[in-house]
Subunit: 302 residues, 4 copies
């Protein structure tokens, strides 16, 4: 149960089978640095390049194809006092007829106040002078090497995870990924200080982080990423259109309820039909992300 402090010197914009940066044991914790989506580090120096340069890959001993890698997000600490977003709304979330009048794309700086636990536009726009939503760190992009020798852009996501931009990938959450190569080869980065549903401006508040995660290898097989927070369990589908992402997430949840909670397809449908929640991770990236979520209070009695 060692804790490793890893300082990256190179970054990856594809998730594939690169040479591991570090080998760790099942149960170990890694504390490491991530740079922002455009490659700026804690000093705002460009040390990586778009899209979403990743720290990693970490080789987790004992992880074999067919296993599941559980990644507990212990801590996400912004490593600088500013982040950035784009405006206005992304092309993917506007009616096509509204695109003509869309203002030009701009980059904006946000101040991150770790003590107050808030973020704030450095140059507030009219009407948002008092707008300071909470600092809610999350991981935008993380996952494991995909199957079959693929190397997938960190702009997108798939069954192995990737750029899902889901705000519940936050401290306290455990994420599960299906392992396709020995050692799993885990990457992480693209931290956001805050983000609404859908990543609808094309970014969260992008900044560098110190991230701490703890690995566990599960001898079980899953098809899509899964997660657990203090209150919920959830499954993830990554695809276009949203309909297909939702189908993957829903089908995976039904499987999970069968595997771990003893519900057959009919029983699972009764439960899900009344209490399921859907979240849109992102509706911006090449693959969209939908989470299918169920509160654990409905599962404790099972």
């Amino acid at each position: 149960m060692a804790t490793h402090r890893f300082r990256p010197t190179r970054y990856f914009s594809v998730i594939g089978a690169a040479e591991p940066c570090l080998r760790v044991a099942d149960g170990d914790t890694v504390v490491t640095d991530t740079i922002d989506a455009s490659g700026l580090d804690a000093r705002e120096i460009a040390v990586g390049s778009r899209p979403n340069p990743m720290t990693g890959p970490f080789y987790i001993e004992g992880a074999e194809p067919g296993d599941t890698l559980a990644v507990h997000i212990d801590r996400l600490t912004p490593s600088r006092a500013t982040g950035w977003t784009y405006s206005p709304l992304a092309l993917t979330v506007l009616e096509p007829a509204a695109i003509k009048d869309r203002p030009s794309s701009e980059r904006h700086v946000w101040e991150i106040d770790g003590e107050a636990g808030t973020v704030r536009l450095r140059e507030p726009v009219r009407g948002l002078e008092d707008f300071s939503p909470p600092l809610q760190p999350m991981i935008g992009c993380f996952g494991v090497a995909p199957a079959g020798g693929q190397a997938l852009s960190t702009a997108t996501s798939a069954q192995n995870g990737g750029n899902m931009d889901y705000r519940l990938f936050a401290p306290g959450t455990t994420a599960w990924f299906p392992v396709s190569v020995p050692g799993a080869l885990f990457y992480l980065g693209d931290g956001h200080a805050c983000q609404g549903d859908g990543e609808i401006v094309g970014t969260g508040i992008e900044t560098s982080f110190e991230m701490e995660v703890t690995f566990r290898v599960l001898k079980r097989t899953i098809s899509w990423p899964r997660g657990e927070t203090a209150d919920d369990i959830f499954t993830i589908g990554n695809a276009r259109p949203l309909d297909q992402a939702l189908q993957h997430a829903t089908t995976e949840m039904s499987r999970w309820l069968g595997e771990d909670y003893g519900l057959d397809a009919r029983a699972a449908s009764h439960l899900m039909g009344q209490v399921v929640r859907y979240d849109v991770g992102n509706v911006f990236n090449p693959a969209f992300t939908v989470a299918c979520r169920i509160a654990k209070r409905w599962l404790t009695k099972l």
Copy 2:
């Protein structure tokens, strides 16, 4: 500000320009009965037919094309002690490869305990013996006559509302609809005792209701349904695929933030980018429903 008690004798499975069942004034309240999605009334007698037989249409005096009809949902009281759902999960939410193993479609009865405020399967399935989610009444289908002489099936939804199956159309919520004909011609029905996101078993817990709503005519124009709860404002898009429904809802929210909160497109994107929430009303009907939602606490300072 009169209150009308209306007892329907006929029901409609299209929303169009039928003869009004009652004329009411701007500000009036209507208390009326609705039957369930299959046409069963409070005594479980079939008095209407699928899909979603509607009570109405109500003619609201003063409502003109281009106006907005605000409908406050005062109260939704189930008028019998049982409702029903289907199982298993709908074809629209499963991976196509999982359809082959889907159990056959069945109808199930739920008991509605108004005192305890819960619902419960009459014949619990294994693993759900203790499953009794809260009674959370909502309106599955309501809206106003569409433009251009159309008569739209209550199976689907469009800019005029219809079968949106969104669980926040609940007591305390005010819904807004764009008026296309004199008097608006408002219909309502398809009450659910409970329903998760997406109406993913093809139904909520379908039952008959006594519904109380209060009308107000707004001299303003909207493009898609909007709503307000104690905590949130939201906009609705109805279309396939989900992507398009989300585009309508998002674009309408951006317009709303401009009209009522003084935010231009760039400012609206900053707010929405960090705090927006998306809900899936239904991913079952011919048109899917997505809500774009913002907590009112972000708007109070504007």
Copy 3:
């Protein structure tokens, strides 16, 4: 086998259960006038209004719900020497990122030369001085009253037909529609002098026509429109996205091959897998249209 010459005095922008304009017998022929998509008649006088004002409805004696109405397109003769289109490409066929630079929408007049059998822009644009594609008349919008009391806008299409904008609905083609009301209630209009696949400028070359069609009632049931030309049979799906329209058309073709050609699902798949053709009727209207087409030469030996 009478031939009726019908001169319309009113037009419809919804397809529903309106009072018949004429009752005809099974086997009869109707010669009638249609006006263009914006309501201009043969003299270019506005006598109807958008969208796609229809001539009809014709009541075909003997047609009952569950039957099929076969409509042979005998002749489509433009009734004036000009038509019009829009430019540029529609929002639905452009990458969202290309919409920003899209020129403004304009209306253009085309000259129709019936003798030469060509069409030509009245004011040619640079590079198209010699562009004169053939006059290829087709029916943009036609169909029968839908089920359940619906009245559907002539902007869209569904199982009952409607605004499909498919270029093989041309002279010599027989179209089949599923009958939902007594008499079928057939409407037609929205003639195009020419149109490529997809109706990607949002119009064909819109003009008024004299149309001649012959009706036959078939005592058989279909789910989606079907058609037969000299060379092909085809089925139509109308939905969004294109994927769903294609699923409807493909499934309907598989059914047809079973019903009329003795091929079970596996045999139909062998045939379709090697020789099927897909056409995009329109990718512009609220519902998109895909045709699944098979050359009759593959069917003659069956």
Copy 4:
């Protein structure tokens, strides 16, 4: 202008930046062997593995990022007398409600008669005893290394080409690919003896081939694959849903008409609006393929 005879000894199921198997000059011709989609060679021995094992990559001297690689398909000769398909229709082309009754998936052998120029099921099913469509060889999967260090599965396709399964990638056609790495790194394989639109049984008639292609490096930049046959030019979009694939293809065609034929966006829309044709390459793979096609006879006068 050398001709190289290359005999592969290893195959690739991702298209990425592997070590070149051969370096050739701009203008050179390569004659090589490809194995079928499941890895069977001319002797039906398994020498590669799914999905779609590729021959290559070929390094074309002078090709630089931003260039275009033109690949003329000189000849496609099946190297054995049998191929195989699946049945029945794929899940992607059926209405979800029809999936339940879909027969189980089976593999079928087809006999390839090179002299007669036909293909035929080895064990004909009832109704198809005389079904022998023409031998129409095509390349299912080919393309160049993608940008950014990605390695993309040969199951799918993207801007760099890949598994497009478009039947006009046939002898006589020239295909263009956007070059992202020095030498382009061209792969090819997955030959089909015949295939209808959409690859709707999940395969063409899969067999091994001797393929002959000739390379040319063009100092111009394109965004999506393009092609030219004796009669047509076409552009390709690869994405889900079909709508998005069609948008890419259409936008790319509009650009091409501007670059090479002097048509601005408005003129291009006039031409395309009247004469464009859409083909569905595949509606089976992870990314669907749509071709936007224009007959060259409309372009000769420009």
